[in-house]
């Protein structure tokens, strides 16, 4: 048993364990953040430098006019998101936000599949005119479109 150790050493052991745990937490967090943070893409960036298939990212852009289609199952929707320079086909199974219409802005959370289609898990649509997501500014620096969307989850 450790009871043979001097108290000073016991204290040192505790401090060491604490330090190792905290440093481990820091390193772990740093590496996880690098891999797990989901980056924001616009179609031009996605065309030039696509993320690895399966990596969680966000895609922001305009829903192209005339591209919105509901598949035969009634719940899967496909549409094309563009930024005036490039376009990305998107597939989404779920309930569309009501303010989601062709020509409106959208931020989609999801991943690219092997075939280059963006599979969205979530569509973040806007629910207040006075709100503008900061993420979208990056977009407007890149292209000529004006997008209004709300990326807030709520609360």
């Amino acid at each position: 048993m450790i009871t043979g150790l001097k108290p000073k050493h016991q204290r040192l052991i505790l401090v060491l364990i604490a330090l190792i745990a905290l440093i481990g937490a820091g390193l772990l967090a740093a590496s996880a953040l690098r891999n797990q943070a989901s980056y924001f893409y616009v179609p031009t960036q996605m065309a030039e430098k696509p993320p690895a298939p399966g990596q969680a990212v966000r895609l922001g852009g305009m829903v192209q006019e005339g591209s919105l289609q509901t598949l035969a199952d009634g719940v899967t929707t496909t549409f094309v998101v563009g930024d005036g320079e490039a376009t990305v086909p998107v597939r989404f199974a779920g309930i569309l936000p009501d303010l989601f219409v062709e020509g409106s802005g959208v931020v989609a959370e999801g991943r690219l599949d092997a075939g280059g289609t963006f599979v969205a898990d979530n569509l973040l649509a806007k629910h207040d005119e006075n709100y503008v997501p900061r993420e979208l500014q990056e977009m407007t620096e890149h292209q000529k479109n004006q997008v209004v969307a709300e990326t807030e989850i709520g609360a």
Binding site: E129, N130, V132, T140, N145, Q146, V147, V148
Partner: protein, 175 residues
Amino acid sequence: MKRWILWVPLAMFFGFCALFAYHLARPKTEFVASTMIGRPLPEFSLRAAVADRPALATADFRDGKPRLFNVFASWCIPCAAEAPQLEMLRRRGADIVAVAIRDRPDDVADFLSRYGNPYSRIGADDLSEVQLGIGSSGVPETFVIDGDGMITYQHIGDIRASDVPVLLQKLEEAR
């Protein structure tokens, strides 16, 4: 325990403070500047939003006279805050037209009776089509349109008293 460890929390905290200060110091990054500046107004023709002001269409801008184009809504609080400044602009000779975004005639009339009506024409933009078309991302926003229907300047957010001379200046430049 080593003494220097005691300083780590303080150092970390000041790191956070620097980060916050940096973000505070950045200009209001929520603002999205319109890319339509320097381009002509898109074609549109809206019905009148209230009974006592005429409707608004692109053709109304092509009479050689520069105008202020205000994007507002009765449900928007900053729009009420900028009402006195709009009134001041009107008294100093600015012609102000507006679109009411996703609004009901009764609500608009109520809003105007409460906060004043500086507008010469008000169109009803029920689907935000015109708003999106001119590159506005929120309410309120105010654009300067020259006599040929070109967008020359965009002001984002409510008009404060200090913005009034700026807008008058931009109107003058658009002449």
